[in-house]
């Protein structure tokens, strides 16, 4: 009787063990990348908006403060999106005949809101509040990135729970002086660990990791 297994079977067996391990690892890797990548999280994907509104032009080139438009950010959970009237304070006079600003005038005359597409959208079972973060020294750019360089806004963070909790466990990593919260060009100093710990003490920042902080 011929031999059931040829010598080459040894190699095949070894290779297939390696193959199975690789397959399992790569499946997990693909799943992980998909989970964290733009395909699922929309990170760095800017959705289409009804008006070509550019933060780059308005914030960086024209020097307008975030709060001129996002008025709620210091006092409420919601940062607030500007009503058409806010656009009109300038665009009643400048770019007032351009076709790119036509939707603003249409909205103004018809009284219908401009329907912006949400870029950041937490699941409805998560509670988030801007004002507490702003008032405890967490800057816009820590969470939203360099918005002043974005012609169209996109997310720079996943907004996944591990992202929130990473900071909540140890806010000293990311805290900055309150006077710098709106400074979009803020750079963390090299002694952040030290400064952070000091600010955490000064502002009485707690480490909020109870589930009920965010799921209430």
């Amino acid at each position: 009787m011929a031999q059931l297994f040829r010598p080459s079977s040894n190699t095949i067996a070894k290779v297939s063990i390696a193959f199975v391990v690789l397959l399992a690892a790569s499946t997990l890797a693909v799943a992980y990348i998909m989970d964290r990548g733009p395909w699922i999280t929309d990170v760095r994907v800017a959705p289409e908006q009804p008006v070509y509104f550019s933060h780059k032009h308005h914030v960086k080139d024209d020097g307008i403060d975030c709060r001129y438009c996002h008025t709620g950010v210091e006092t409420s959970h919601f940062a607030g999106l500007p009503p058409t009237e806010t656009c009109m304070t300038c665009h009643s006079q400048i770019w007032s005949n351009a076709s790119v600003t036509q939707p603003i005038r249409d909205s103004w005359t018809s009284g219908k809101s401009i329907a912006w597409t949400r870029v950041h959208d937490l699941p409805d079972f998560v509670y988030f509040n801007h004002s507490i973060h702003i008032n405890k020294g967490i800057g816009c750019s820590t969470c939203h990135g360099q918005v002043q360089d974005m012609p169209w806004v996109y997310k720079v963070n996943t907004l996944y729970m591990n992202w929130c909790v990473n900071c909540h466990r140890n806010p000293a990593q990311f805290i900055r002086p309150k006077s710098e919260v709106f400074n979009m060009d803020y750079k963390y100093p090299s002694d952040q660990a030290q400064l952070g710990a000091q600010l955490v003490k000064e502002y009485h920042v707690q480490s909020l990791t109870d589930c009920t902080t965010c799921h209430r």
Binding site: T27, I40, D62, E85, C90, S92, Q93, D124, F125
Partner: protein, 200 residues
């Protein structure tokens, strides 16, 4: 053999499923702030308040404080007390809401003016130097000519703080020797607006 294959399929589907699916709880049948609705004709889930509604804490009986006028005339004193902290708050608010057009010095050379907006007057214009503080409050509250109202974005008392800061800008740039003193005596005469040193 078959059992093993199908086990792999299940594991694979499980891994992909767990990573990829947003389930129903992510979007629950409630409105987030500003969300659109097709229930109301104007498409807004945010409802405007019914006319003549007075919310708690918004019964504004102090005419001077909430309209800047008494008997239809602009008041010439601060109806709230202005301390150093208030002045700093005024400066911050001014730089956010006014400086794009009026410039940080209030000279009318803001960034947006360079892009084609009508040039606002310099605050050191003699007419504005003499204007009562109530006028500044009124301009912010109701708008003025080409300038829109800022009442929806700048809280009532913050408008007084900005007015105080504008006074400080005026005085710091263009103080005729006795103006500061005049202002103080004016405050003393009316006996209001907190201590005469309110501009500190």
């Amino acid at each position: 053999m078959f059992r093993r294959k199908s086990a792999w399929v299940v594991v694979l589907a499980g891994v992909l499923g767990a990573s990829a699916c947003r389930n129903d709880m992510h979007n629950q049948p409630r409105y987030k702030t500003f969300a659109a609705t097709d229930f109301f004709g104007d498409g807004r889930s945010e409802r405007p308040t019914i006319e003549d509604t007075v919310a708690r804490g918004q019964l504004h009986l102090d005419e001077a404080r909430y309209t800047g006028k008494v008997n239809g005339k602009d008041v010439d004193y601060f109806p709230i007390q202005i301390t150093k902290a208030d002045l700093e708050r005024g400066q911050e608010r001014f730089n956010i809401y006014c400086s794009p057009c009026h410039g940080r010095l209030g000279n009318g050379h803001g960034m947006i003016v360079g892009r084609g907006l009508r040039q606002p007057p310099n605050y050191t214009d003699p007419r504005l130097m003499d204007a009562p503080v109530g006028h500044f409050f009124d301009v912010m509250t109701n708008g003025y000519g080409a300038m829109y109202s800022y009442a929806s974005r700048v809280a009532n008392d913050d408008r007084w703080r900005i007015a105080a800061y504008i006074r400080a800008l005026q005085l710091s740039q263009n103080a005729p020797p006795d103006l500061a003193r005049q202002q103080q005596t004016r405050n003393l005469r009316t006996g209001q607006g907190g201590p005469a040193g309110g501009m500190k």
